[in-house]
Amino acid sequence: MNRFHKLDKMTSTRCAVCKYFRRRCPPDCIFAPYFPNNDPQKFTCVHRFYGASNIGKMLEEMSVHLRADAVDSLYYEAKCRIQDPVYGCVGIISSLHQQIQIAQSQLAKAQAELSFLDANLAAAEPTPSHSEPLVQPNGAVDHGLDDPLNTWFY
């Protein structure tokens, strides 16, 4: 009874990696925190492209507090590669670059149009000095530069 109890305990606490390899999961298993046994797909997905030993080496080379993010990013890239075996997540990067180029071009167009409209708005606003025609000392009315009778520039 004790032997079966021990076996049950071992199998139920194995991480997904050790379960995959049908081996004992040691207490200090490097994979256990990141590949829980209730999510076997995570490891099978990552293992398909990277291999367990490569993942183990990568995790060993980095600080413990960064490992969870590293495993998540490996999982993300592996899923991208499953969806697109040729380009993987590089296809997404390429698409983002294209979107940025398109957006920058459209933003430049919109800003140019706004500048044009702003400039026209500024030019179209009547200036205070021309709001009312000036009456000259001799009684003539000066309508400003548009006045065909205004001969100051001759």
Binding site: G51, Y76, Y87, L96, H97, I100, L114, A123
Partner: protein
């Protein structure tokens, strides 16, 4: 794309693995001996047998692009062991979001001009059209809806759906140039493959 094995010169993969480069070596067309680092990176991250399996599952005319994208990912992972390419994706996504906001603001101003909220002094305001932003999801990229990978990711705005619940790793640092060396697979680059 000549096979280096035909010239009795081992390809970079066989050189790295210290084995004879046989005619028909699957790596030879894609790992020339002049680029040893390319295979070294790929081997470090993926391993030779995984790459072999992957190439065998892909049509021959797509293998060059596949190898180049693997080399790109491997180099990204070597440069940034924690986030790899995902760091670049996050960074670019933030740029897209920022540009989207700026474009929305500019379009809002244009609409105000068109509706005469801001008189422009121009006689024909109906000719002013807001600049339509790119489509809001990457529908032209049918197999790559990031949000679908996890059955629905976060964020609904922007030009595409955001990757699901990733931290932004580049809040404080960024040296990754997605269109830099290692295949030159950025959107503006040519690269060896036609992406």
């Amino acid at each position: 794309m000549a096979s280096s094995s035909s010239y009795n010169s081992p390809c970079a993969a066989c050189k790295f693995l210290r084995r004879k480069c046989m005619p028909g070596c699957i790596f030879a067309p894609y790992f020339p001996p002049e680029e040893p680092q390319k295979f070294a990176n790929v081997h470090k991250i993926f391993g030779a047998s995984n790459v072999t399996k992957l190439l065998n599952d892909i049509l021959p005319h797509q293998r060059e692009d596949a190898v180049n994208s693997l080399a790109y990912e491997a180099e990204a992972r070597v440069r940034d062991p924690v986030y790899g390419c995902v760091g670049a994706i996050t960074f670019l996504q933030r740029q897209v979001d920022r540009l989207q906001k700026e474009l929305d603001a500019a379009n809002a101003d244009l609409i105000r001009y068109a509706c005469n909220e801001i008189p422009s002094g121009l006689p024909h305001m109906s000719s002013i059209q807001p600049i339509t932003p790119p489509q809001r999801s990457i529908d032209h990229y049918p197999n790559r809806r990031i949000g679908d990978i996890d059955g629905g990711g976060g964020g609904g705005g922007g030009f595409y759906q955001s990757p699901p619940s990733f931290p932004y790793p580049y809040a404080n640092h960024h040296q990754w140039n997605p269109s830099g060396s290692g295949g030159n697979l950025g959107g503006g680059g040519g690269g060896q493959g036609n992406m």
